[in-house]
Amino acid sequence: MPSELTLTVNGAKQVVSAAPETPLIFVLRNELKLSGPRLGCGMAQCGSCSVLLDGEEIRTCITPVSYAVGKQVTTIEGLRAVWAIEKKLSAAEAAKTLHPVQQAWIDEQVPQCGYCQSGMMIAAVELLARNPNPTIAQIKDTFTNKPPSPHLCRCGTYAAIIDAVQRAARAMKA
């Protein structure tokens, strides 16, 4: 049965009505109209639905919405604000500044179909928070071996993702 749940998504409090076991992705997409997290496998095997929960990547296709109550949910729509707060940017600066990971994804022209790339960027943000200067081997390891599954891209943009993560790492240190 639906209950009223209070979530914090991209910095804003949101009250939603949903059955507590509803996977978070359906609440984010259908109730809060966020299109960043996208449904892929539905069983935590691909990573296209990833968001940050208190800074840690989770797969929203298997995470019940109730699990997110009281925690900070960040989707790609909120990455810009995360960076602005971290860098204490003025409102004017923040308005024209993307998160360095997003900017790197544009600069390296990473997305092809782009369906998986939201999850890829979430994984990159989490990695760079943990390791500001990852090697190619460490990037590959994170995107492949970190549980629960590899981040999969069928268009085959892996090489561009590696370049973009390294570009973002340089930008974030600058």
Partner: protein, 781 residues
């Protein structure tokens, strides 16, 4: 409506107003006139309004249906083609900018909407689609010059254009000013027709290419291009990165229901009884059924999911077990009674005699199991079927007009009643090129039954079980060498279930009309070894495995670099085996069998970049046992759609575990003029990822009744960790027009990898994928 719109050179000038003086004429290509008539701006809205009320189709002979110049000097172009993910939207933009002499940033595109774009066509048909918009832009450019000549009082020859500003005699005017308050009445000459259902013929539809803009307007010589040849960014990327893109899965309509399909237990099952649904537990959910099509709908997506699972658990289907099992596919293809080849190319008598006279003969067979497109996002679609019989479908199909024709055929209505709107979504890799497959028919049927808009989201398991597949194949090749080790004759035979069945599963299960295809095969290779004078290529097709079922069985469909991907694996495998038989270096062996300068150039450049050492395979290091890695390298080449490709794989194999690691892949490409160097490089690299995935990992498995490789643990694709270092080599030339650069790269991986495997182990692999278990079996044999 299907349009036949051939224009002749004496077509009348269309004018909407008689009161205004026609101020300028420009005539080009025998079929083009310009007049300046009614006020109200140079806009396509008139055409759109007409389209929405009468035919749901723009009139392609009107310039306004294609292109709009606004008073702020920005430009809107409409194309029936769509972005496939490989950067098409960027290339279209570059082509238009080039011919109009404007900055590409000022151009926006409307793509793929059947009621808002004029020409149709399939999205992988980029070269023809680009030629359409390029010609329209070129016609428009000439018309604008004519208008400016009148306005500025200068002859056209004295005018120059930079960034959409026409200057001459010390005066200048922007395009936007030139057309403001005026209607540029320019007729676009077109030929062909939009796609229509053609049951029993080829893929079941006709008009895949859509309309073609004809005539020869003056276009920018390729060696003078300013925009084509630059790395213009792909327009949609910033929105995809920031979350602003509206994807086809994001479409919501008032009153829309979410649906989850309940599919049959096997490929051949029919429905016995529907499971019950507890209305207390799922108060808003409803079961919807038509024939063997079964679904649960609800305004709430999670309720639709939960209820569909509950209903599925209690639903009974008949048993069926008519598949051979994936482990027996080769045996099944071998046992099939093939009729005459669908296509045969070459000279049978010459090949027979050359083979008989050969000093050395090679006779080998190659094979590959079923593989699939396997996008990350399963099929999704939204449909709104109204009581007046009209239907609107929101989709990411790569063939909007084809989908429109198929939906109309299914509903027993005319295409005028159907509108298809296109949005971005997960890649298709060819599966919707023929306008079928997908969730659209499910959504249309459910919307018709519920009388509400319906969104159908497939699950991954459903997509892996029920979407179309790239069929298994076997190929036999015989070749003859002369005493000096030159190939004198080659005969290849390709056998496969056909790749022409994109019928949508929803329509099939519901028992609604589907425009069926004619099973067959085709010779897909493009021959580059002109020094091999005697050659014969035969291709055979057969119906789907399980074709007799209501679901159509394993519906075969094309997949990226179709036909050629498979046939080139066999052909290039043979070339590598022949080089080994001749004790020749495989690069030099190829050079010795061609006079094609373009192949020679890219082959040499790629070999040099890879640091290729001349020697024959297997290498001196080769061994087939041991727990330590052994190295190998291999090469292959291909020509496709006016583009030349070379792949060089460097791998390590651990013989005792069978694990292959591709350490470096050097890929060379020469597609005539490169439109966008950065994007070409990115497509090459991503193509390598897809090709290595197929070479090393991919196989659709099935038992006697259903597909069993139903998730990413069972249908494995390449991960980031398995990516090699990739070196790209590109050659661009201005004298060979444009070639296909977006696909092709994937096809050069499997033959290069198997050649490298032979180089490392001395064992020929005649099958992909080279999984550890297959490799260890091979090395022990």
């Amino acid at each position: 409506m299907t349009l036949k719109t051939e224009m002749s050179s004496d077509s009348p000038v269309m004018s909407f107003a008689t009161t205004l003086t026609r101020r300028g004429f420009v005539k080009m290509g025998g079929a083009l006139f310009v007049s300046v008539s009614i006020p109200g701006g140079f806009r396509a809205e008139t055409a759109e309004r007409q389209a929405s009320t009468e035919t749901n189709q723009l009139n392609p002979t009107l310039l306004a249906s294609w292109l709009e110049i606004r008073s702020d000097n920005t430009i809107l172009m409409r194309t029936g083609r769509t972005e496939t993910g490989t950067g098409m939207s960027g290339y279209y933009t570059q082509a238009i900018a080039e011919e109009l002499s404007v900055r590409p940033e000022t151009i926006s595109l409307v793509m793929g909407d059947t009621d808002r774009t004029p020409d149709g066509g399939y999205s992988a048909g980029f070269l023809s689609g680009m030629t359409n918009v390029r010609k329209v832009a070129a016609y428009t450019y000439q018309a604008l010059l004519g208008l400016a000549a009148t306005q500025l009082g200068m002859p056209v020859e004295n005018l120059s254009v930079v960034d959409g500003v026409i200057s001459g005699g010390g005066k200048s005017i922007r395009y936007g000013q030139l057309v403001e308050g005026q209607h540029l009445d320019l007729k676009i000459p077109v030929t062909g027709e939009l796609l229509k259902a053609a049951p029993g013929k080829w893929v079941g539809v006709e008009g895949l290419d859509g309309l073609t803009v004809t005539g020869d307007p003056p276009m920018r010589p390729l060696n003078q291009c300013k925009v084509m040849g630059t790395s213009f960014p792909v327009p949609g990327i910033p929105d995809k990165v920031t979350g602003k893109t509206q994807w086809s899965c994001d479409v919501t309509l008032p009153g829309m229901l979410h649906a989850r399909m309940i599919r049959p237990a096997t490929l051949g099952s029919t429905l016995i009884s529907v499971g019950t649904m507890d209305k207390k537990q799922f108060p808003a959910a409803e079961i919807v059924k038509k024939g063997n099509l079964l679904a649960v709908v609800s305004p709430n997506e999670w309720e639709a999911i939960s209820a569909s699972r509950a209903v599925a658990a209690g639903t009974k289907w008949t048993d069926w077990a008519g598949l051979p099992g994936s482990e027996n596919v080769t045996k099944t293809l071998r046992a099939y009674k093939w009729n005459a080849p669908s296509e045969s190319r070459g000279k049978p008598a010459d090949v027979t005699s050359a083979l008989a006279n050969a000093a050395k003969k090679i006779s080998v067979s190659y094979e590959q199991p079923y593989v699939r497109h396997a996008p990350i996002g399963p099929f999704v679609a939204v449909a709104d079927v109204r009581s007046d019989g009209s239907a609107t479908v929101w989709t990411h199909s790569a063939q909007s007009q084809g989908l429109r024709a198929r939906i109309a055929y299914m509903l027993g209505t005319t295409p005028e009643q159907v509108v298809v709107r296109w949005l971005d979504h997960s890649g298709q890799y060819g599966r919707t090129t023929f306008g079928g497959d997908g969730a659209e028919s499910d959504a249309v049927i459910l919307s018709q039954l519920t009388q509400k808009p319906v969104r159908v989201q497939w699950t991954l398991e459903e997509d892996m079980k029920w979407s179309s597949v790239s069929p298994a194949w076997v190929s036999d090749i015989q070749a003859g060498l002369d005493p000096s080790g030159h190939l004198t004759a080659l005969h290849s035979v390709f056998y496969s279930p056909h790749m022409f069945d994109p019928r949508p599963i929803g329509a099939l299960l519901a028992g609604m009309p589907c425009s069926a295809s004619e099973p067959g095969g085709w010779v897909a290779t493009e021959w580059v070894y002109d020094k091999i004078q005697n050659r014969l290529e035969d291709a055979y097709g057969m119906p789907n495995l399980g074709a007799e079922t209501a679901s159509g069985g394993l519906r075969g469909n094309i997949m990226r670099t179709p036909g050629q991907r498979q046939q080139n694996f066999a052909l290039e495998g043979l070339i590598n085996e022949a080089a080994a038989a001749a004790n020749a270096d495989p690069v030099q062996f190829r050079l010795d069998h061609t006079t094609d300068e373009r192949l020679i150039n890219i082959l040499k450049a790629t070999a040099q970049a890879a640091g290729w050492e001349r020697r024959s395979s297997p290498g001196p290091q080769a061994r087939k046992t041991g727990r330590t890695p052994v190295n190998g390298r291999g090469v292959c080449a291909m020509r496709r759609e006016n583009a030349y490709w070379v792949g060089i794989a460097e791998i390590t194999v651990v013989p005792d575990t069978g694990v292959i690691h591709v350490s470096r892949f050097t890929i060379g490409g020469e597609p005539g003029k490169i439109i966008n160097p950065r994007q070409f490089g990115l497509c090459m690299k991503s193509g390598v990822a897809m090709g290595l995935s197929e070479a090393l990992k991919e196989e659709v498995t099935f038992d006697k009744s259903k597909v069993t490789s139903t998730n990413w643990d069972r249908y494995k694709i390449l991960t980031m960790e398995e990516m090699p270092e990739i070196k790209i080599v590109t050659l661009s030339r201005d004298d060979k027009q444009f070639g296909g650069g977006s696909e092709g790269a994937n096809a050069v991986c499997p033959p290069a990898v198997t050649a490298a495997f032979f180089d490392a182990t001395g064992i020929q692999a005649h099958r992909i994928p080279l999984t550890p278990s297959y490799v260890t079996t091979l090395l022990k044999s």
